[in-house]
Symmetry: C2
Subunit: 198 residues, 2 copies
């Protein structure tokens, strides 16, 4: 049985994912976002790209059957299973500045950005190289007329998951998101497991 790891509330983890392995991201309690970033393990200048992924999918909401591309237009991850169907790929990880600007009455937190930077630092990833993440379970409906969006509580329930198969050897950063509005007003853990190549 594959071990399931837990990421504590408002923290993050960094780890390797080999080509062919599947990363299963689980929301154990429901309504909790997990920011996901991946880098080519052999060349960390190759990184997940929201813009390339949108372009090739012709859609901004991605789910089972969709591929996540790098800045070099290579497939990094295939979404192979998704019990939720609503994730965000528009927004950057919450950061000290997000809290300063958007949550001005609360003490700033280093956020997913700071947690990703710390988790990825051992792999040589610099903070300036952290782009928009794939925000698992984040619910950001967009009004197509005005372009306005809202950050609503995730629609994920306890035990929901999304699974990604690696198309290359990867370095992964994954968080339990730190921003109140993104997580229905409370901070909960995220779990993940790595399933071997079939």
């Amino acid at each position: 049985m594959t071990a399931q790891h837990r990421i504590a509330p408002r923290s993050g983890a960094g780890f390797r994912l080999a080509k062919g392995e599947t990363l299963v991201v689980v929301d154990p309690m429901g309504e909790q976002v997990a920011d996901l970033l991946v880098f080519n393990a052999d060349d960390i200048d190759e990184v997940l790209s929201s813009g390339r992924s949108f372009d090739y999918a012709e859609r901004i909401y991605l789910t089972t059957g969709d591929k996540l591309y790098s800045n070099r237009s290579n497939v990094m991850l295939d979404i192979v299973s998704d019990s939720v169907g609503r994730h965000d790929f528009l927004l950057t990880p919450c950061s000290y500045d997000t809290f300063r600007i958007c949550y001005e009455n609360e003490p700033p937190h280093r956020g997913c950005f700071g947690n990703l930077a710390a988790a990825l630092e051992p792999y040589g990833v610099l903070p300036d190289r952290i782009p928009s993440a794939f925000n698992c379970f984040m619910n950001v409906p967009v009004d197509g007329e005005t372009g306005r969006f809202k950050v609503l509580p995730p629609i994920s329930k306890a035990g929901d998951h999304i699974a990604f198969r690696a198309a290359m050897d990867l370095v992964v950063g994954l968080t339990a998101c730190s921003a109140k509005d993104s997580n229905g007003g409370s901070f909960k853990p995220i779990e993940y497991r790595i399933e071997p190549a079939a």
Copy 2:
């Protein structure tokens, strides 16, 4: 009178823009996209960020009064004038791979990505550092229900413009876009001028 520069069809330009100066991007013939990227002239690791800009605007369609932020959450550009009101900030510059994947019956072109890489190379910008651009005049309506988007002809008419005031000293990359679908089926020039600080 400020000189107006012309960017030939399917090409690009790189130049400096000082803090306080205003860059006016003009569509001289109508229905032509211009991809815009900016980097902090004193530290090119600071770059335009679609995700940060969306986050702080709470909108994906940006126009007069909106600010374009960097990956470090600093304001890089203020949109001070806009006669069109419809631009795209979702998609990455078209590239050799875009043509290979999306225009498979046409000879691949290096696209805005290749043109930006060439124009920015003298300033020390590496191709891997080119993120999603602010695509002036690009018309990408999104269906808020499904997340599907279309790339439609720009709604810009001959002589339309959008103007950006620099909030820091910048290196700018600007193109006359090379992708047929983005430009109503033909390739036209783009013009720009730099107006001094008030």
